[in-house]
Symmetry: C2
Subunit: 267 residues, 2 copies
């Protein structure tokens, strides 16, 4: 069993329209992950395709099926003895999804399809129709959400209620609010959060990096630069997230009052 989990973030600068370049970035990161014994490698959203599509048609040409696509195959290969998560532009028979497939020990374990689409993504992708997933990696429980999901506190909360100790969060952030909000997400759920953001400019959009890992007490354990690419990592003890006591009488999740929250699920 692992006693400490080494979380690696691959902060990249995907190139829209150049899947080969994006695949090379992934290969390079996986080599670095191997060299540094990374247990969980998280890449940004839409890491295979880039973000700022000119049209839905362009997105289709840059999409792939999960787990057969070239990017996914590379993720699978790189997941020996570890978890690899990255955003993938996913093609299905019903349409495209902004997805995050997760690979572990060479196998495809699950795919989360982004539930809350941001701005022009609504013209390209279908929204996911399932709550965000939690999965077991050895003794640890990892949750998954994508980018704009951050602004909906419901998402991180659902992951915490499902037992996530660490929330993996591939992102392509353009608004300036998320990083501070993820500190609140960590505190209000007593979980680790791992935001892997991209950098660079793409067709007028600017992405600001600063990928980060936040502890359950809100401490920022790792913060990357605003334009760096490459791998950074930090060792965490996910079991810290199992202690939900904020005071000797306050268990953060048991103190919730679900009967009084019904308005949250009204359509």
């Amino acid at each position: 069993m692992l006693s400490v989990l080494r979380i690696g973030i691959g902060q990249t600068d995907p190139v829209v329209g150049d899947p080969d370049a994006n695949l090379l970035m992934l290969r390079k990161l996986i080599r670095e992950a191997d060299a540094n014994r990374i247990d969980v490698l998280v890449l940004p959203e839409l890491a295979n395709s880039g973000y700022a599509f000119e049209s839905r048609e362009e997105a289709v040409t840059l999409s792939e099926t999960i787990p057969e696509g070239a990017y996914c195959k590379e993720m699978a290969k790189g997941s020996s003895g570890r978890v690899v998560v990255a955003g993938v532009c996913e093609r299905t028979s019903e349409g495209l999804y902004n997805s995050a497939p997760l690979f572990m020990n060479g196998r495809h374990v699950l795919t989360y399809r982004k539930v809350h689409l941001f701005n022009r993504e609504k013209e390209v992708f279908l929204p996911g129709e399932s709550e965000p997933p939690v999965f077991e990696f050895g003794e640890y429980r990892l949750g998954l959400m994508i980018c704009w999901d951050w602004i909906f506190p419901e998402m991180a909360r659902i992951l915490a209620l499902k037992g996530a100790q660490v929330i993996l969060h591939p992102a392509n952030l353009v608004l300036p609010y998320c990083h501070r909000a993820m500190v609140t997400r960590s505190i209000e759920n007593r979980v680790f959060t791992v935001t892997a953001n991209r950098v660079g400019e793409e067709r007028g959009l600017s992405f600001y990096g600063e990928s980060q890992v936040v502890a359950p007490n809100g401490e920022v354990l790792l913060k990357m630069g605003g334009s760096d690419t490459g791998l950074a990592w930090v060792d965490i003890d996910p079991a810290r997230a199992d202690d939900k006591m904020m005071t000797e009488r306050n268990h953060l999740l048991n103190d919730r009052r679900p009967r009084l929250y019904r308005r949250l699920v009204e359509d």
Copy 2:
């Protein structure tokens, strides 16, 4: 009709066991509110009684009924042409509540009873059994929650779903996280938040003031000192909170996916 709402925070240092001193603080603040044409005056939690009770019995002796009690009568008197909200240690036939009565134009309008009790409050108070309220003041809609409710994102969210433009938030804060989290509450709900915190020390507990008003975009519009007492105010346009568009395609509340949030209301 008001076109701008002047929000006043009365940052105080209530004295446990000295209701007369606490009443004098209220009177002084109301005189200042009159002089400065405050529309909405918010005081800290348990402003009539102080916070750090030695026992439930002591809390009983410092409690009052709403709206008949001496502190409430003073709030009513001071609410001519305005809203006055303060935390009150409330006595009822079933027990004590950590409450926030709201007075407007000389009348008692409603009382919110704190739903999430903090630490030793659990030994003194009964928890409230209703969702947090929203009420109309002229053309504006004001919501109400108390202190530790801040850590439960469900509460501010419910208030936003009920139409609150401004969340009034009497508090007695001892943990250091709330002020930054309230910035997130403002952003994730696109509402103004008004946290009226107390200052001073009481039987080993230290309260850190820094009462604040935050705009829907997360901007801190007003921040008081860590030990000052007295009135501070800021003029806001609550209608700013009606614009829930984060991008031209993202309405923050309409983009929610309640059908996927059912886990939030499971017991």
